[in-house]
Symmetry: C2
Subunit: 141 residues, 2 copies
């Protein structure tokens, strides 16, 4: 079966007063110009679920709430999925050699980072977006 | 070195009158409920660049325009990057067994699909977003 091999380009780090992405020295040049963006998209590996059982889950109750309907993982952001890629947006505080300080991140400390992309808004008109009831109200801007 | 193995969950397919994601039968259940979303995020593999040279590129001129400043790939959406993950948003037309018909996709035919996530808008206030000049005007909503 076709397979692709990924290596971490860095890790999520958390301390009492700081949250940052440590980028491996070999990839530090890939940060050039990132300081001009207010936000980044971080793609990471749900390493805590990297076992056959975690990757075999195809349906979940979203947000682990049994009142939410059983839903396929591709219709959720569940951390259980065949390829354990997480995606989140972070606000950039500072970019220094091999390090991106961020406001906060929806990922565990020491999570392997797979990729970083600049965040460029591409909003949709409100009427264009359709969501199921379990999503609830969109987050405030 | 730490490594993660990914397998395609499907492929981008294009024909004269249709564009769709073919999902492997083994993962078809993971689409349950996806029809309630107007849009999806598709994570895919830039398979045309899957060679050591493609994965070694750390800096590019965005949009292949030499007038744009040399920029680290993590500050771009370049298809050349250490882990060849592409990310795009698609409008869902229909979801049937193992198939998602979409309006269009910014990926080549037969591109391996790594993951699919529901799209939930999380807009930022305009004043919060900072972008370099090369990005230009944001796309219209």
């Amino acid at each position: 079966m076709e397979a692709f091999t990924l290596h971490p380009v860095g890790w999520v780090r958390k301390a009492a007063e700081a949250t940052w992405i440590e980028v491996l020295p070999a990839y530090a040049r890939a940060l050039r110009g990132l300081e001009d963006f207010s936000h980044i998209l971080v793609l990471f590996w749900f390493h805590a679920n990297d076992h056959p059982e975690g990757r075999a889950v195809l349906e979940v109750h979203p947000r682990k709430d049994p009142r939410n309907p059983l839903t396929g993982v591709f219709a959720t952001h569940s951390p259980l999925r065949p390829n354990l890629i997480g995606l989140t947006r972070c606000r950039v505080l500072a970019v220094t050699a091999g390090r991106i300080d961020i406001a906060t991140i929806d990922a565990l400390a020491d999570t392997p980072v797979l990729d970083i992309k600049c965040y460029i808004p591409a909003p949709l008109a409100e009427g264009e977006v359709r969501l199921p009831a379990w999503v609830g109200e969109p987050a405030p801007p």
